[in-house]
C-alpha cells in the first residue's frame, strides 16, 4: 500500500468519524438550543439588564423641619433619576423598620430648624443613612445624595459662586458613555467558549466511556488519538458559530465595535478554542463518569473563568496567592487579548506575550493528554 492511498484512507476514516460526531451533536436539540441560546441571553442580560449604575433607588425622607428649604431639597432629590422617594415622614423611628423590610436603600433626615440654620450661617445639618450591606451601591448612593445637596447649597448661597477655582474637565477614554458592555463582552466570549469547548467535549467523550461504546470505537481501525480528535472537531465549529454570534450581537446590538483587526481577533480566538479543547480532552481522559466530568469542568474550569479572569472581579484586589493561581487560568490571558484587540484596538505587538502563554499551555495540555491516554479502558 503506498503512502498516498493510506493517507486517503485515514482521511476518509476521519471524515466519517467527524460526521458521526456531528450527528451526535445536531440530534440533541435541547443541548443545541441552549448552546446557541446561552450566548445570546448572556449578551442581552449584560447589555440591557445588569449594570452598576444607581437608578431609581428607593429612599425614605424624614422631614422633621417641614420648611421651605427642606421641601425644595426633597423635590430636587425626587426629580433626579437616581432616586425614588418611597415616602416622606416626620418620625425618625420609621427608619429602622423600613430598612428591615428591605424596602429602601437610604434615609435622609432634615432636623428641626433646617431653613433657619441654613439662612443664618450656622451650618445646617442633614443626616444621610445608607444601607451598608451592599458596599459599592452604598458608596455611589451616598455620593449622589451628597452632590445633589451640595448643588443645592451652592445655589442657595450665591456668594460661593465667585471664587478662585480649579475646574476639572473629565474625559472618558475608550468607553465615553460608561457602558458596561466593553468590559463584559470579552468576558462573555471567554466564558461561552470555555463552556462549549471544555465541558461539552469532556462530557461527550466520557459519555462514550460510560455507555460502553468507547470500546467499540477503540477497536476500530482508526487510530485512538484520531477518535478523540474527531470528537473535538464539531465543537470547534460550534464555538466558531458562537463566537461570530457574540461578535455580531456586540457590534450591531450593543454598539461595541471591533476596533482592532478582526483577523487577529479570530485567529487568537481559534488559539484559545484549541487550548480549551485540549483541556476538555484531558478532563475526559482523567474522569470516568459524566457527572465527574461535568463537575470537574464546572468547578475546575468555569468558576475560575468567572472568578479569576478579571472579568467579574478585579484581579489587583485579590490576595497574592489567588493572583498567582489566576495566572494558570487560560481565560485570564484570552480576556486580556480580547480587551486589547477588540476594545482598545491594539495590534499583535501588544498581545504577543499572552499569545505565547496560550500556545505554551496548549502544548503542555496536549502533551499530558497524550501521555495519559490509554488504548485499553479497564
Amino acid at each position: 500500500m503506498n503512502t498516498t492511498s493510506s493517507l486517503s484512507i485515514v482521511r476518509n476514516q476521519l471524515f466519517s468519524f467527524v460526521r458521526k460526531e456531528f450527528y451526535h451533536v445536531l440530534r440533541d436539540k435541547k443541548v443545541l438550543l441552549i448552546l446557541f441560546g446561552m450566548p445570546i441571553v448572556q449578551v442581552l442580560l449584560f447589555g440591557f439588564v445588569l449594570s452598576n449604575e444607581v437608578k431609581d433607588t428607593r429612599i425614605i425622607v424624614i422631614d422633621v423641619a417641614r420648611d421651605e428649604a427642606s421641601r425644595q431639597l426633597i423635590t430636587k432629590l425626587g426629580a433626579s433619576c437616581y432616586f425614588k422617594i418611597d415616602h416622606i415622614s416626620t418620625n425618625e423611628n420609621e427608619i429602622e423598620p423600613t430598612f428591615k423590610k428591605g424596602k429602601i436603600k437610604a434615609a435622609i433626615v432634615f432636623p428641626l430648624n433646617f431653613q433657619h440654620d441654613l439662612q443664618h450661617g450656622n451650618s445646617a445639618q442633614v443626616q444621610i443613612i445608607t444601607d451598608g450591606t451592599d458596599v459599592n451601591a452604598a458608596n455611589t448612593i451616598n455620593g449622589y445624595i451628597m452632590s445633589i445637596i451640595q448643588d443645592f447649597s451652592l445655589e442657595s448661597n450665591p456668594l460661593q459662586k465667585v471664587s478662585y477655582r480649579i475646574v476639572p474637565e473629565v474625559r472618558m477614554l475608550y468607553n465615553p458613555q460608561l457602558l458596561g458592555a466593553p468590559n463584559f463582552v470579552p468576558g462573555v466570549m471567554a466564558m461561552v467558549l470555555m463552556l462549549v469547548c471544555v465541558m461539552m467535549t469532556a462530557v461527550a467523550i466520557v459519555k462514550e466511556k460510560e455507555m460502553g461504546t468507547m470500546e467499540v470505537l477503540l477497536v476500530s481501525p482508526m487510530r485512538p488519538l484520531l477518535v478523540i480528535i474527531s470528537k473535538a472537531v464539531p465543537y470547534l465549529l460550534l464555538s466558531f458559530v458562537n463566537l461570530s454570534v457574540i461578535i455580531l450581537l456586540s457590534v450591531y446590538v450593543l454598539n461595541v465595535p471591533v476596533k482592532g483587526s478582526i483577523v487577529l481577533l479570530l485567529s487568537l480566538s481559534a488559539l484559545f478554542i484549541i487550548t480549551c479543547l485540549s483541556l476538555g480532552i484531558l478532563i475526559s481522559i482523567q474522569t470516568d463518569s459524566q457527572q465527574a466530568a461535568m463537575f470537574a469542568s464546572l468547578i475546575g474550569m468555569l468558576l475560575p473563568t468567572i472568578m479569576l479572569s478579571g472579568f467579574m472581579f478585579p484581579i489587583e484586589n485579590m490576595p497574592w496567592p489567588l493572583q498567582l493561581i489566576s495566572n494558570i487560568a487560560p481565560s485570564r490571558w484570552y480576556y486580556i487579548i480580547v480587551k486589547d484587540v477588540m476594545i482598545k484596538g491594539a495590534g499583535f505587538s501588544s498581545v504577543w506575550r499572552e499569545t505565547l502563554i496560550l500556545v505554551g499551555m496548549t502544548i503542555a495540555l496536549l502533551a499530558i493528554s497524550m501521555k495519559k491516554f490509554k488504548i485499553r479502558l479497564a
Binding site: 441571553v41 442633614v126 455611589t140 451616598n142 445637596i149 459519555k207 468547578i299 467579574m312
Partner: protein, 370 residues
C-alpha cells in the same frame, strides 16, 4: 409511608456510595466559600494615577501633594509628557491621567478659574466613575484651601453640613456585604445541579424502568428524591453559616429559627426546580445544560452583584419569579439587618407558593410509562 422509607434508604445508599459526588458537594462549596469572598472584592482601591504636570507651579505642587496624600491613589508616573502617560493607560499600568496645563496657576489668579484635564480609562466603568469622583472631591477640597488662602474673609461655613452613616455595616466591609449572598448562591447551585441530574441518571442507565414497574406512587418517588438532597443542602448551608462565623466573624443578627424556616422552604423550591428539569430531560448532558442555563440567569439576576433597582421594568418583572432573588434578599435581611419573621413574610409566602408549584409540576410531569 413505608414505601417512602425504603426509597429513602435506597437514595441515601446511592449518595453515600458515590464518593466523588459526595466529596464534590461538600469540598467544592467549602473551597469556594474560602476563595470567593477573597476574589469577589469590588472595593475600589489602588487606583493608579499618572500625573502630567506642564505647569510645575506652587499651586500644581499643592494639588499633587493633596492627591498623593489622600491615600486613594497610587502615583505611577509624574512627568511632563502626555504621550508617556497615555502609553501607561494603554498597557493598563495607569487608570487615570491628570493633566495640569501650562499657566494653570496664572489663569487661576488672573481669570479666577483654571482648567485641569482628567482622562479616565473607562473600560471598567465602576472604577472609572469612582476614581474620577475621588479626584473631583480632592480638587474641590484644594479649591477650598486656595479660597481661604486668597480670600480669608469669606465665610465658608454657610453650607450644609452632611453627616453620613452606613447602617448594618458601618465600616463598609466588603466581605460582610458579599458573604450571605455567596452562601445563597452556593446552596442554590448544589441543590439545583444535584437534583437536576438525579432522575435523569436513572433514566439514562435504565434503572427507572425497574421503579416504574413497581407499585410506588409518583409522589413517593419524587419525595424519595427530594428529601435526601434537602438534607444534604441543609448540611451544606449549616457548614457555610458556621464557616462564616469562624472565618469571617459574621453572626446572624436575626433569629436563626426565622432563617432556617425560610431556607427549608427555599430549598424545597430549588430542588423542585431541579427535579422538574430532570423529568423533562432524557440525558444527563441535557439536564446539566438546562440547569446551568437557568441557574446562571437566576444568579446573575439575583441582585447580588448588581442592583435590581437599576434594571429596566421588564427585567424587574422577571426577577419576581426568580427564587434566588428572594433568597439573597432574605439572607441580607435576616443575617445582616436582623429582620424578623414579619419582615420577610412576603418573601416567605412567595417562595412557599413556588415550592408547591414546582414540586407539583414535577410530580405531574413524571410519567411512569414512557
Amino acid at each position: 409511608m413505608s414505601t417512602l422509607t425504603v426509597l429513602l434508604r435506597k437514595e441515601f445508599k446511592q449518595i453515600f456510595r458515590n464518593k466523588t459526588i459526595l466529596a464534590i458537594s461538600f469540598v467544592a462549596p467549602v473551597v469556594q466559600f474560602l476563595v470567593l469572598p477573597l476574589a469577589a472584592n469590588f472595593e475600589i482601591k489602588n487606583i493608579n494615577l499618572a500625573i502630567v504636570d506642564h505647569d510645575r507651579s506652587s499651586t500644581s505642587q499643592k494639588l499633587v501633594s493633596q492627591i498623593t496624600g489622600s491615600g486613594f491613589f497610587k502615583l505611577v508616573d509624574y512627568s511632563s509628557s502626555f504621550k508617556q502617560a497615555y502609553h501607561l493607560i494603554e498597557t493598563d499600568e495607569a487608570d487615570l491621567i491628570l493633566e495640569i496645563p501650562l499657566d494653570m496657576e496664572r489663569n487661576l489668579i488672573r481669570e479666577n478659574s483654571a482648567k485641569v484635564f482628567i482622562a479616565v480609562n473607562a473600560i471598567n466603568g465602576t472604577k472609572a466613575v469612582i476614581g474620577g469622583n475621588y479626584l473631583n472631591a480632592i480638587i474641590a477640597e484644594t479649591n477650598k484651601n486656595i479660597l481661604t488662602e486668597l480670600m480669608p474673609d469669606v465665610n465658608l461655613n454657610q453650607e450644609i453640613d452632611l453627616a453620613t452613616a452606613y447602617w448594618f455595616n458601618p465600616k463598609l466591609n466588603y466581605k460582610i456585604s458579599i458573604i450571605p449572598g455567596i452562601l445563597a448562591v452556593l446552596v442554590t447551585m448544589i441543590g439545583g445541579f444535584l437534583s437536576a441530574l438525579n432522575i435523569v441518571k436513572e433514566k439514562e442507565s435504565g434503572t427507572i424502568e425497574q421503579i416504574n414497574v413497581t407499585p410506588i406512587r409518583k409522589i413517593d418517588f419524587i419525595l424519595g428524591k427530594l428529601i435526601p438532597f434537602w438534607i444534604l443542602a441543609m448540611i451544606v448551608f449549616t457548614i457555610g453559616l458556621t464557616l462564616a462565623y469562624l472565618i469571617y466573624d459574621i453572626v446572624p443578627q436575626g433569629n436563626l429559627l426565622v432563617l432556617y424556616s425560610f431556607i427549608s422552604v427555599y430549598l424545597l423550591a430549588v430542588l423542585g426546580f431541579g427535579l422538574l428539569i430532570s423529568t423533562y430531560c432524557n440525558t444527563q448532558q441535557e439536564a446539566m445544560f438546562l440547569a446551568f442555563f437557568f441557574v446562571m440567569i437566576f444568579i446573575l439576576m439575583g441582585g447580588l452583584f448588581t442592583s435590581i433597582d437599576s434594571m429596566p421594568e421588564w427585567a424587574k418583572m422577571i426577577t419576581k419569579i426568580n427564587p434566588v432573588n428572594y433568597m439573597i434578599n432574605v439572607m441580607r435581611l435576616v443575617v445582616l439587618k436582623g429582620s424578623g419573621f414579619r419582615d420577610i413574610l412576603p418573601d416567605f409566602a412567595i417562595v412557599l407558593i413556588m415550592a408547591f408549584v414546582l414540586n407539583g409540576w414535577a410530580v405531574l410531569n413524571y410519567r411512569k410509562t414512557s
